[in-house]
């Protein structure tokens, strides 16, 4: 089996790339899943807060009407499609690595990052529209929940953009020395990105449709 010319800090650590014989996974994959488990608890607490505040409220939204009348459903539906598409492009980016096509990787990863920016731009328009009408988070708890939950989700999108951009640019150097470790990194970044999509899959109906 080839000796992996990995980053010096990883050199002496077993199973950085080779899967562990019993668990069947390498260390970074295990690590990213554990991180995602903690993220499930983070968003779980936020959803829990939404449930508690909403069930305690005399009526919801507090100002009357329906969530779908206050928030822009068509725009958010588009955004949902944007994120779903970015998930498939992320998978294709990883698949390109598996098939040895670094050029294809760059294309699909570029698309993923681009779509992520589209998501943020649409959210920017949503937010500023609310602000122009004087609807800031402090207006009432409907807006507090909306801005906080989508805001935190948005920060996670930004985090994903940063990681993916790193992989697209500086990180690609690793492809030359250890393509398997690089592919694993892309896969792990993909796991994080799919999770961000997953959170939105629940956020969208909870905030906009119900």
């Amino acid at each position: 089996m080839s000796v992996h010319a990995v980053h010096p800090a990883d050199a002496a650590i077993p199973h950085t790339v080779e899967p562990h014989p019993v668990t069947g996974i390498p260390n970074p994959k295990f690590g990213i899943w554990l991180f995602l488990a903690s993220e499930v608890m983070l968003f779980g607490a936020l959803f829990s807060s939404y449930v508690l505040i909403r069930t305690q409220a005399p009526h919801w939204p507090p100002e009357g009407g329906l969530s779908s009348e206050i928030l822009n459903v068509p725009l958010a539906t588009l955004n949902t499609a944007v994120l779903i598409t970015s998930s498939i492009t992320m998978v294709l980016a990883w698949a390109s690595c598996k098939m040895g096509r670094i050029d294809r990787f760059r294309l699909w990863m570029g698309c993923t990052i681009g779509l992520a920016f589209v998501f943020l731009i649409i959210k920017y328009f949503e937010y500023t529209d609310k602000f122009h009408h004087g609807h800031f988070p402090a207006f009432n708890n409907f807006y507090a929940v909306y801005f906080t939950l989508t805001g935190l989700h948005g920060l996670h999108v930004i985090g994903g953009i940063i990681v993916n951009t790193f992989l697209l640019t500086i990180g690609t150097r690793l492809w030359k020395t250890d393509p398997e470790q690089f592919t694993n990194r892309v896969e792990n970044a993909g796991l994080y990105w799919h999770f961000v999509d997953l959170v939105w899959i629940f956020l969208f109906p909870s905030l906009y449709l119900l």
Partner: protein, 590 residues
């Protein structure tokens, strides 16, 4: 299999190269931004001890006000500012800051970083025969999230209006409207929580994936099992508090009403917020973390006690598997009991009965663990080394702490005892003569591993005995105060008749606290002066676990050759063997 040995050779070669490379690593990469778990462990431990000392000083100051309410503090009182101690008399706002910050600092900047960041980081990779943690750079990142978080937390004291002063629990609505120091508290907590989350990921992956050949799950020292369960608690319980902190920051900075109910009136004036929020929401999210957090405080301590007891009784731990299963069960149950901190919030009987039941159930694994430790003493050839003194004292101290938790976990008796000094006595017994004594045991026990030198045993015994007496002098009387109805967080207990009735105990407690401070002086002296003592034996305690296979202190990469494990962790006094201990790492010992 051949692939892994090839990789092992390559890895050893790399480690060797890295070892040579280390002579060329600049100072700031060798000692400041190190990725070596041993350096990081020492960084955590030293930082945590400094913070522990600071948190202790806050308490000693606070105890003056409780012993001599309204009296000017001699000497030190004049050194502090006019806003905190006008004329040397403690301002009530400052009293609240001392209380809130003492709790916060001891829990989040003292105990957890020392027990998990310090001992966990240093010992776990060694005890499982690994060259380092699974993610060395992530390890460094965890420390460098912790230290700025800790410093930021302390900076709260210089904010306008002073540091956080809404209790370590930061309950809204008070915390929502409190001074700037509370925002600093929240931001610092975000950094501290992030540090713990990153660290917990590292521990779990390391323990599962990096064990040496032959080290099966049930051959791991109990210390490693304890750290393993602890890491799951940190990983899954901390995020809700992070979410809650974000929401409290939103309330404070963006004017939202997550935790502010409608119609709130403050000092006679209606608060101009949207309302519709719930103060109880904060309590749920806070305690969802904070209850597992207390098991984070005790589990590593139990791990240390296990190592020290087995080593100093020269016999295997009694009920090793029982200990492991109990620790796992304890960890799991810790997630389902949190609302026993909220019995007085108006919950219906269904839910309060649920939480009372789970709380009673969780006492079982604790009792099992304590019983196993006590049974481990029976028939042992006990050596009362300094670590063993602390470990032996831990047993009755933890028992008192645990037993006094029962009337708090039962809703009926909690009605009376909630928010009294009884609670303070209860949890301090578990954490102070409990965990902190275990951490002292760990320092004395592993000091030879980290430094290659032995600490002075005579100074250690003085440290132990004076601390033991003083610490009981502090916390035992608190049960009486609590049963007399004395509330916690009171600036001046003497405004109440029932407070005046137990005021003499406050004097006893405060002097015991100041005595406890004096008792630490031999320890601090010992800690530093022992660095200049002659080199100790490689395995001075004649211990069986893997960390003693490495040189003391271990080099980068830890083991000269990758260790192999041949037997269970506590093979002491095995019949028919020449020595009274058979190390895990020694092949075919006679």
């Amino acid at each position: 299999m051949s692939a892994s040995t090839t990789h092992g050779h390559a890895a050893a070669a790399h480690a060797h190269d890295a070892g040579h490379g280390h002579h060329e690593l600049p100072f700031w990469r060798k000692y400041i931004f190190s990725v070596d778990h041993k350096v990081i462990g020492v960084q955590y431990a030293v930082s945590a001890l400094v913070f522990l000392f600071f948190g202790f000083c806050l308490m000693m100051l606070l105890r003056w006000q409780l012993a001599y309410p309204g009296q000017p503090l001699p000497v030190i009182g004049k050194l502090l500012s006019e806003s905190t101690m006008p004329g040397g008399v403690m301002a009530p706002e400052f009293y609240n800051q001392l209380g809130a910050m003492h709790g916060t600092i001891m829990v989040f900047m003292g105990i957890v970083p020392l027990a998990v960041g310090g001992f966990g980081n240093y010992v776990v990779p060694l005890q499982i025969g690994a060259p380092d943690m699974a993610f060395p750079r992530l390890n460094m990142a965890s420390y460098w999230a912790f230290l700025p978080g800790g410093i930021l937390m302390l900076l709260g004291f210089v904010a306008p209006g002073g540091a956080a002063q809404s209790g370590w629990t930061s309950y809204p609505p008070l915390s929502d409207i409190a001074t700037t120091g509370q925002t600093i508290w929240l931001l610092a907590m975000v950094l501290l929580i992030t540090s713990s989350l990153l660290g917990s990921i590292n521990f779990i992956v390391t323990i599962v994936q990096l064990r040496a050949k032959g080290l099966t799950f049930f051959r791991m020292p109990f210390f490693v099992h304890a750290q393993f369960v602890t890491s799951f608690l940190l990983l899954l319980a901390f995020p809700p508090l992070e979410a809650a902190s974000v929401m409290q920051l939103m309330d404070r900075l963006a004017g939202t009403s997550f935790f502010l109910p409608s119609g709130l009136v403050i000092s006679g004036e209606q608060l101009h917020v949207a309302g519709g929020g719930s103060p109880l929401l904060w309590q749920h999210l806070f305690w969802f973390l904070a209850h597992p957090e207390v098991y984070v405080l005790i589990l590593p301590a139990m791990g240390i006690i296990a190592e020290v007891i087995a080593n100093n009784t020269r016999k295997p731990l009694w009920g090793y598997r029982l200990l492991v299963y109990s620790a796992i069960f304890l960890g799991f149950m810790s997630f389902v009991v949190w609302a026993h901190h909220m019995f007085m919030t108006g919950m219906g009987t269904t839910m309060s009965t649920f939480f009372q039941t789970t709380t009673m159930i969780i006492s079982i694994p604790s009792v099992v663990i304590l019983t196993c430790f006590i049974m481990s003493l029976y028939g042992g050839a006990i050596r009362f080394t300094v670590p063993m003194l602390f470990a032996t004292a831990f047993l009755p101290m933890f028992a008192i702490g645990g037993l006094t938790g029962l009337p708090l976990g039962l809703t009926a008796s909690d009605i009376y005892l909630h928010d009294t000094f009884y609670v303070i006595g209860h949890f301090h017994y578990v954490v102070a003569p409990g965990t902190i004594f275990a951490l002292f045991a760990g320092i004395y026990y592993w000091y030879p591993k980290v430094t290659g030198k032995q600490m002075n045993q005579t100074l250690g015994k003085i440290h132990f005995w004076v601390s033991f007496i003083c610490i009981n002098g502090i916390f035992m009387p608190m049960f009486w105060q609590g049963m007399a109805g004395l509330s916690r967080r009171l600036y001046d207990p003497t405004i109440y008749a029932h407070g005046r009735a137990v005021q003499s105990l406050n004097v006893l407690i405060s002097w015991s606290a100041w005595g406890l401070a004096i008792a630490q002086l031999p320890f601090i002296w010992n800690f530093f002066s022992s660095l200049r003592r002659p080199k100790a034996a490689e395995n001075p305690w004649q211990a069986t676990t893997l960390e003693w296979a490495a040189p003391s202190p271990p080099p980068h990469g830890n083991f000269v050759t990758p260790p192999v494990v041949y037997r269970d962790p506590y093979e002491y006094s095995v019949p028919g063997k020449a020595k009274d201990f058979s190390p895990q790492f020694a092949a075919g010992e006679a």
